[in-house]
């Protein structure tokens, strides 16, 4: 992020994030008619705390524990040969079989769709899920692949020059979603 980037707008505050996640939790239960065979997989890094929170909200609503896994998609990226330095590899930990499960991928922002493409390939290598759904806190548009989210906290039109910064207590010590841009 360049130094010239300044905060242009706040799209969600702490309460806004909570309300969006609670709604998504309800939608997940409704769409899947309960919680049977549901497992959440958070994409490193900010998808992980979001998946944990969703699991907590679903538990409050249905009184059922939903397993949560952690996925690092680095090894599945399609741009590794074009980067100057290899990205840091973080841990993948999916402590349950994905075979025949309803897997809900969780990430903070959906943008080009390439991360989700990589994540789906990564999950397929762990087994054959019954279904994969996608939950994101922010959809900022500009897809480069035919991928869409099943659950969206907030859709925000952005320009390609802007940055959507999701800040979470667990990873950033702060709560909020901001649009950063030049000037």
């Amino acid at each position: 992020m360049s130094d010239k980037m300044r905060q242009k707008a706040q799209i969600l505050d702490k309460e806004g994030i909570r309300r969006a996640l609670v709604r998504i939790a309800h939608e997940i239960i409704e769409r899947n008619k309960g919680t049977e065979k549901i497992a959440l997989i958070g994409i490193q890094r900010r998808g992980v705390p979001l998946a944990n929170r969703l699991s907590g909200y679903i538990r409050e609503i249905e009184n059922k524990a939903i397993p949560v896994g952690v996925l690092d998609i680095t090894l599945y990226r399609d741009d590794l040969t074009t980067l100057a330095h290899q990205p840091i590899l973080r841990r993948t930990e999916v402590p349950f079989p994905v075979k025949n499960q309803k897997i809900i991928l969780v990430d903070d922002v959906i943008y080009t769709g390439r991360t989700i493409r990589a994540a789906m390939d990564a999950i397929m290598d762990l087994g054959r899920p019954k279904i994969i759904q996608l939950a994101v806190l922010i959809d900022r548009g500009h897809r480069e692949l035919p991928i869409r989210a099943d659950y969206v906290g907030k859709s925000t039109p952005t320009s390609g020059k802007e940055i959507v910064a999701v800040r979470l207590q667990e990873t950033d010590g702060q709560e909020g979603v901001f649009i950063l841009g030049e000037g």
């Binding site: 690092d72 090894l75 599945y76 040969t81 980067l83 840091i88 390939d121």
Partner: protein, 307 residues
């Protein structure tokens, strides 16, 4: 991030780089235990194993690491290649490079061979053992194994016992563990302790019983039977009696000390079968960790486009 294109030895890489390799290997190890052990990361890349010395575990380990990352692997052993027709190392690797290999993994009986090679070609070079110089991925997998078991390397007492003179593993272990803040001692017959080894920062012992006192990690080196014509000790029986690790000696170290060996083992010479198979032995885990560490090295070194 890794600053160098090649991995020649641990003497010339710094602690943060070692840390990065070990951290990356943690993530790689998860792949080794998957039902489908394959990720697409190095798809379309070619890796050549160029081995001028016999090897089972190192070559297989690199080959598996490359295959788990989806690279294509070519194995060349000197006995079954143009080397027997008299082709020089330089010409051999130039040929390989002309065919488009991205990484050359080399094992060679001469110290310095890997470094020489790195100066000749544009491909990345990984040293898989050059003479008595270094075997960096063995050093890394030893550190990985210890860190996994003990949580951290700083302050641990590491003892390396055996033929230090001929051991590239010992050199890589000494550099690596010292850089990570561990204390390293070496011990062996005086004829097998290279002059000036203490200048690395390692302490030197001639008595195994003294060396083992309060050790957290014991690394036993293989007596290289093929090199024993030089008469560096009177007999294998005497060596086993004076420098072999058995149950009684093991009790001199800390109760939870780890026993390691780079393999292949001479059971009954440098290590008793009982100790090699004991609960304190992590020799088999070293082998598994070797694959994860080599995956990490391949991933970190092959990366980077033209940017």
């Amino acid at each position: 991030m890794i600053k160098k294109k090649n991995l020649i030895g641990l003497e010339h890489i710094d602690a943060p780089e070692i840390e990065l390799i070990l951290d990356t290997a943690v993530a790689m190890k998860e792949i080794v235990f998957r039902p489908i052990r394959k990720v697409p990361t190095l798809r379309g890349r070619t890796i050549t194993n160029l081995f001028y010395e016999p090897s089972t575990r190192t070559r297989t380990s690199f080959e598996l690491a490359a295959k788990f990352l989806n690279a294509d692997v070519i194995n060349i052993s000197s006995s079954a290649s143009s080397v027997v027709k008299g082709e020089s190392l330089k010409d051999t690797v130039r040929t390989l490079e002309a065919m488009g290999t991205d990484i050359v993994i080399i094992r060679h009986p001469m110290a310095g061979a890997a470094n020489l090679l790195a100066g000749w070609i544009g491909a990345t070079v990984i040293n898989a053992g050059d003479g008595a110089h270094e075997h960096p991925t063995q050093g890394l997998l030893d550190m990985f194994t210890v860190r996994e078991k003990k949580g951290a390397l700083e302050g641990l007492k590491i003892v390396i016992i055996g033929d230090i003179l001929h051991s590239r593993v010992a050199r890589s272990d000494i550099w690596g563990f010292l850089k990570m803040g561990a204390k390293v001692s070496v011990c062996g017959p005086a004829t097998m302790l290279p002059a000036g080894i203490e200048r690395t920062g390692a302490s030197v012992y001639c008595s195994i019983d003294e060396a083992l006192k309060d050790a957290d990690v014991i690394i036993m080196l293989r007596i290289q039977l093929e090199r024993q014509k030089a008469g560096l000790f009177p007999s294998l029986r005497e060596y086993a009696r004076l420098f072999g690790l058995n149950r009684e000696r093991l009790s001199l170290a800390k109760k939870d000390a780890l026993v390691m060996h780079p393999g292949p083992m001479n059971r009954g010479i440098e290590i008793s079968g009982e100790v090699a198979d004991s609960l304190q032995s992590v020799i088999n885990e070293q082998v598994t960790n070797g694959v994860a560490v080599r995956m990490a090295v391949l991933y970190l070194l092959i990366g980077g486009g033209d940017a």
